[in-house]
C-alpha cells in the first residue's frame, strides 16, 4: 500500500532552537493519523512540512511515493486542505468563505454554491450561509473552516489543533460531528493535537512526538495501553510508574514485588529482573476494604491510605499510598458513595492485565 503522503529523513530546526527529526512517517489512505505531543514538541512544524508550507533542511516529502520538489509544491498543496486552531475566515459571508478555495481551483457559480451548501449542511451550519463570518461564535467559525477545507475534497486533510480554541461543549459536539464525517468519507487525515482525548476519539493510529522525535507510532489503542517508554507513558495518561522485582513466573502470571507488596501481572518477565510497571488511573477501582482481605487470583487488591484527592471536571483523582503511590480516577458518584476522604483506608483493585511492563530498563540487582 503506497502511502498518500510521507516524510523521509526530514530534519528541520524550529524556534526556539529545537530540531525536528523524522526518519519516516507515512499517512495511509483513508486513515486518521494523530500526532500528539506536549507544547513545543514540533507537532505544528511537522504538519507545516507535510502541508508543503515549510521546506525541511534535509530529507523529503513524498506524495504517492514520489519526492515533491519546490516547483510542484503549489500543485500538490492544492490537493490538500488545512484547518488551523484559528479559523482564519475571510471578511465575507459564510458561503463566500466556503467557496473561496474552490474559486482558486477554477470552480465557480452554481456548482461551487451547491458543493458549499452540502458541506455547510454536514457540519450543521447551513442556516448560517448568509451571515458575515465576523459575526460567528468560535464553534460556528471552526465548523465553517472545516466545511471550507472539506469542500475541496482534499486527498489529505491536515488539522492543526482545530479544537484547542473552543469551549468544552462546542468542542465535544464538533469532535463528534467531525468523527462522523471522517468515518463516512474515509478522508485521509493528519490531526495534530496536545490533547490525547482528541486522538482517542478520532485517530486510527497515533504518533507520539516528544522533543522533535517520533517516540512511538502505532494503532491508537496500543499506544495508550502499551507505551514504549516512560515519557510516552506519562504523555498518554499513565500516572503510576513504579519499579519492582520479578519474584516468579508461573501459569501465565508474573509475581512482582513492589514496595513490600506483591502484585500479579499478566505480562511476561524473567524472575529476578527489575521491571517498571505502568498503570493507567482509569484501570484502578477503589472499594471499601474487604473484611477477609485478599482477592481472587486474577486481581490485585491493595489496601492503603488515601494520600490526596484532587477534584476534576470528570470526577476525582485519588492517590492511594500502598507502599508506593498508586493513582486512581473515580467518578463523582463513587466519590460520594464511598465517602472518600484523605487519610481513610481503602482497597485499590486492578486486573492482572492492567499493568504494562515498560521496556528498556537495564537488568541489574541492587
Amino acid at each position: 500500500m503506497t502511502p498518500l503522503l510521507a516524510l523521509h529523513g526530514v530534519r528541520l530546526r524550529y524556534p526556539p532552537g529545537f530540531t525536528l527529526e523524522v526518519e519516516a512517517l507515512a499517512v495511509r489512505p483513508a486513515e486518521v493519523l494523530a500526532v500528539i505531543g506536549p507544547n513545543g514538541s514540533g507537532k505544528s512544524t511537522l504538519l507545516r512540512v507535510l502541508g508543503l508550507l515549510e521546506r525541511p533542511e534535509a530529507g523529503e516529502v513524498r506524495v504517492g511515493g514520489r519526492a515533491v520538489d519546490a516547483r510542484e509544491a503549489l500543485a500538490e498543496r492544492r490537493r490538500m486542505a488545512t484547518v488551523f486552531q484559528e479559523p482564519w475566515l475571510a471578511d465575507t459571508t459564510v458561503v463566500g468563505n466556503v467557496t473561496l478555495g474552490l474559486g482558486f481551483r477554477g470552480i465557480h457559480g452554481e456548482v461551487a454554491a451547491r458543493r458549499a451548501a452540502r458541506w455547510l449542511e454536514r457540519f450543521g451550519v447551513a442556516a448560517l450561509a448568509g451571515r458575515r463570518a465576523r459575526t460567528l461564535s468560535g464553534g460556528e467559525a471552526q465548523r465553517v473552516a472545516l466545511a471550507r477545507a472539506l469542500v475541496l475534497e482534499p486527498g489529505v486533510l491536515l488539522l492543526d489543533e482545530p479544537f484547542a480554541g473552543l469551549d468544552q461543549p462546542s468542542r465535544t459536539a464538533l469532535i463528534a460531528d467531525l468523527a462522523a464525517v471522517l468515518r463516512e468519507d474515509r478522508v485521509a487525515t493528519v490531526l495534530v493535537t496536545h490533547d490525547r482525548g482528541e486522538a482517542q476519539a478520532l485517530a486510527d493510529r497515533v504518533a507520539v512526538l516528544i522533543a522533535g522525535r517520533v517516540r512511538q507510532l502505532d494503532d491508537t489503542a496500543r499506544v495508550f495501553q502499551t507505551p514504549v517508554s516512560e515519557e510516552v507513558a506519562r504523555f498518554v495518561g499513565v500516572e503510576t510508574i513504579v519499579s519492582g522485582r520479578v519474584l516468579s513466573r508461573a501459569g501465565g502470571v508474573t509475581r512482582v514485588e513492589i514496595g513490600g507488596r506483591t502484585l500479579e501481572v499478566a505480562a511476561a518477565a524473567d524472575p529476578g529482573a527489575r521491571v517498571r510497571l505502568a498503570i493507567r488511573p482509569e484501570d484502578v477501582t477503589l472499594t471499601l476494604p474487604p473484611e477477609q482481605g485478599g482477592g481472587s487470583s486474577a486481581r490485585n487488591v491493595l489496601r492503603g491510605a488515601i494520600a490526596r484527592i484532587t477534584v476534576t471536571d470528570a470526577g476525582a483523582r485519588v492517590v492511594v499510598d500502598c507502599g508506593f503511590p498508586l493513582v486512581a480516577t473515580v467518578t463523582p458518584r463513587s466519590l460520594g458513595d464511598l465517602g472518600l476522604v484523605e487519610g481513610m483506608t481503602i482497597a485499590a483493585v486492578f486486573k492482572a492485565s492492567a499493568p504494562h511492563l515498560l521496556p528498556g530498563l537495564a537488568p541489574h540487582t541492587p
Binding site: G51, M80, L100, R148, A149, L152
Partner: protein
C-alpha cells in the same frame, strides 16, 4: 521667473519614486519574509546610502555610470548616455530614496501575521497571489509611508545629484541646486520663491496623504 527647476524636480522625484517602488518593494519583501544566504549583507548594503556622505555616493555613482565607467560603457554601446543628464538625477534620487522605502516597507511586511499568508496558501493561493491578496493589502500603509519619504528625499537631494548630473541650468539644475545658485548670485527673490514653492508642495503632499491614510482599507 524661470520655474524650470521646480518642474524638473517634480518630474525627477516622480520617476525616481516609481523606480524606487519597483525595486524596493520586492527587496523589502525578500528581506522581511525570506531566509536566504547573504540576507544580512544585503540588508546592510541597502542602508549604506543613509550613512555615507552624499558626495562619496555621488562620486562612486559617477565612476560607475560616467562614460568611461563599466556601466557607462555598457549603456553607451546601446546609445544611452546617463551622466550629466536629467536621467542621472533620477538615478541619484533613487539611490538616496531606496533605503527609506525599503526600511519602511520591510517593517510593514514583517508586521503582517505570517499565519494569514499561510492560511491563504492552504486554500491554494500561489506565492504571487498571496503577496497581492494578503501581504500587500495588509502592509500598504507602511509601503505608502515609505513612498512619501522616498519622494521627499528625492525632491530634496543635493549632493548625489550635483556629482552625477551637475547643475546645468535648463537641463539638470533641480530645485535645491537652483536655490543654491540663486543664493550664491545674491538673487534672493528667486531663491525665496523657489524655497516657498518647495515648502508648499511638500506640505500639500503630506496633507493629501494624511487624508488618504485615514481611508478604511
Amino acid at each position: 521667473m524661470d520655474l524650470f527647476p521646480l518642474w524638473l524636480s517634480i518630474r525627477v522625484s516622480l520617476v525616481a519614486t516609481a523606480l524606487t517602488l519597483a525595486l524596493g518593494v520586492p527587496l523589502a519583501w525578500a528581506l522581511g519574509r525570506r531566509r536566504f544566504a547573504g540576507r544580512e549583507l544585503l540588508a546592510a548594503l541597502v542602508v549604506t546610502p543613509l550613512v555615507l556622505p552624499p558626495t562619496v555616493l555621488g562620486y562612486y555613482l559617477l565612476v560607475l555610470i560616467g562614460a568611461p565607467g563599466p556601466l557607462g560603457r555598457l549603456l553607451g554601446r546601446i546609445g544611452v548616455e546617463l551622466a550629466f543628464t536629467w536621467k542621472a538625477a533620477v538615478v541619484a534620487a533613487c539611490v538616496g530614496s531606496l533605503p527609506l522605502l525599503v526600511r519602511a516597507a520591510q517593517a510593514g511586511f514583517e508586521g503582517v501575521d505570517a499565519r494569514l499568508e499561510q492560511a491563504a496558501r492552504t486554500l491554494g493561493r500561489s506565492e504571487w497571489s498571496v503577496f497581492w491578496s494578503v501581504t500587500l493589502p495588509l502592509a500598504w500603509r507602511a509601503v505608502l509611508a515609505g513612498a512619501v519619504l522616498a519622494f521627499c528625499r528625492a525632491f530634496g537631494d543635493f549632493g548625489i545629484t550635483l556629482m552625477v548630473a551637475g547643475s546645468i541650468p535648463g537641463r539638470t539644475q533641480t530645485l535645491p541646486l537652483a536655490i543654491y545658485d540663486h543664493v550664491q548670485a545674491n538673487q534672493m527673490t528667486e531663491a525665496n520663491t523657489l524655497a516657498a514653492l518647495a515648502v508648499a508642495l511638500v506640505v500639500a503632499l503630506l496633507l493629501g496623504l494624511g487624508r488618504l491614510g485615514r481611508l478604511r482599507y
